[in-house]
Symmetry: C2
Subunit: 340 residues, 2 copies
């Protein structure tokens, strides 16, 4: 038996925004005959993440080679088992996997992780209890190392990772400055997520003005969790305190159009020297084997309603790949998902 599998095939690297020429829509028959330990799954939620734009660079980045052209766009997925030839899996079971931008797949059972739908909404397996949560938790705790009373600054604070970092930093007893684009995001960060201070970077036309405001609000920065780069980072780096920890989680301001030709900014390493600060790049996959540590702490917080994990869900498989652009231009808060 075959079923119709819908796919978005990555076919050309975008220079700027994603357009119709970069992804090709395909419908393919999928043979549902299952080998031993195989599952047929149906995607329910498909992830859209900034890192996808990094894999589209022509140069080595996380991986030695860019995302291959001509295959399904790789992505995290929350799926349901439709049919199982693997012990322990039943139709209807929820799993997280990496089957990409397609509606169905036949996978070996070792390629999926079971999701407990009692713990939290299943879509959180792509958010607070998944890759973004892991990035926020280990990036903050392992590289940022916040202490109670310290000042933590988060850029891209309304995003999937940033919004969790704000809350995790508050849990550590830090005072948190959340930087985001637009008054509405800022209001949400302060009123719902508990940020001590908020800054709408769009209200500042240069890094010196932004830096002055950061200085006035915080008196200096101990931990900077950076998702954005560019002008915001230029502003924060000049305001670090002694032995500050700067965590580079993303540089989204540099992905669009200029991944291979970054923009110019003021050279700031002299501040790192004066303050004996540390800048550290972090990546979710480096902490994959430690997911249980995070779930043991963050899981109960989520269950008790102590963490806001807002999701912005676009409905319909056809919303891909335009959803990628929403990461860069959108007004969404929290985790961006496409529901199939």
């Amino acid at each position: 038996m075959t079923i119709l599998n819908r796919q978005w095939i990555y076919q050309q690297a975008p220079v700027d925004l994603v357009g119709p020429e970069h992804y090709r829509y395909e419908e393919q028959p999928l043979d549902t005959a299952l080998g031993r330990d195989e599952l047929l799954i149906a995607a329910r939620y498909i992830s859209v993440d900034p890192y996808m734009r990094i894999g589209q660079s022509g140069k080595p980045t996380y991986d030695p080679h860019p995302h291959p052209v001509g295959i399904v766009q790789q992505a995290g997925v929350v799926a349901q088992v439709l049919a199982s030839n693997a012990a322990g899996f039943q139709p209807g079971d929820w799993v997280r996997t990496y089957s990409g931008w397609q509606t169905h797949a036949v996978l070996h059972a070792s390629a999926v992780n079971r999701i407990d739908p009692q713990l939290a909404p299943v879509s959180t397996a792509l958010g607070v209890l998944g890759m973004p949560g892991r990035t926020a938790w280990f990036g903050l705790t392992e590289a940022g190392k916040p202490r109670a009373g310290e000042v933590v600054v988060v850029s891209g604070a309304a995003g999937a990772v940033g919004s969790l970092v704000v809350q995790f930093a508050k849990k550590h007893g830090a005072r948190v400055l959340a930087i985001a684009g637009g008054a509405e995001k800022c209001r949400w960060l302060q009123e719902q997520l508990g940020a001590d201070w908020v800054l709408d970077y769009r209200a500042y036309h240069d890094h010196a003005a932004l830096a002055a405001q950061i200085r006035q609000l915080t008196g200096g920065v101990d931990v900077y969790f950076d998702n954005v780069g560019g002008m915001v980072t230029d502003a924060v780096v000049g305001e670090i305190k002694r032995r500050a920890r700067i965590v580079i989680c993303g540089q989204i301001s540099q992905y669009n159009g200029h991944l291979d030709a970054p923009t110019l900014g003021p050279r700031f390493l002299h501040h790192v020297l004066y303050q004996r600060a540390t800048i550290q790049g972090i990546l979710a996959r480096d902490y994959l084997h430690r997911m249980d540590e995070m779930l043991a702490i963050v899981g109960p917080w989520v269950q008790r309603g102590e963490i806001v994990f807002e999701q912005h869900v676009l409905h319909g498989f056809e919303q891909l790949p335009q959803a990628l652009n929403a990461l860069f231009t959108g007004e969404h808060r929290g985790k961006l998902l496409v529901e199939v």
Copy 2:
């Protein structure tokens, strides 16, 4: 009794090169009457270091406040005891202290460290066995953490710190690329200091060309010990390998004229992200209390002649403060000193 003390008084912050308006020469009578535990010392070697230019910034740097105006320029000094009212010190004893750009001083014995003239030439207390050696040793071992077989790149490699880092990295079994300005320095680095590769950065007009050569020579960088910043650093950062360690020891290209207004360069933090690299600022004073650890290892190397510690000695107290400019424009190798 009084003696004539000659002093260079710091009186105005230079924007670019140091000129006669920035330092004032004075001759002052010095009362040689000694209180309990005091010493009268005569400077023999006076240090000239790039960090002095950092202290002349109008903004907080290492210290919350810049070097005060109207006092003797602070500096490390190798001196001889002329008279002693402190137990254990005799006239003729050699000491290291921080009495600055003046020929004489009356100091409490706690302000000096004894030098053993049998161990090595006394001037090495301002070089390989002093602050530059400590900076090179702990910066490389604590922040750079080189492993045998790794690639270590050193900028400002012919300088007081850089020339030691090259050799310490070789002692660790690393392969070393030394970057310096001018063919003569490069030849010295390769022939006398054992660098595996050398690069004269002056032969490259942009960071992309320099980066291509670094890539071709080394295949990628594990440790970058940076004394220079600017274009050289722009070039190296794009060539780092996974989990590279970048040590920021100095940014001498940014001190002259632009300390408060750094030049523009390409934003490079995305490389730090891809490679999960670390950038760490280091400062000699943070390791002052661990000097014995370094001397236990490096001291015997110096005694056995296994370390080249070249000195460039200018003769005459009047050579200060022009000697400061030589750090930025000069063709000297190793440690720059003024002999009184």
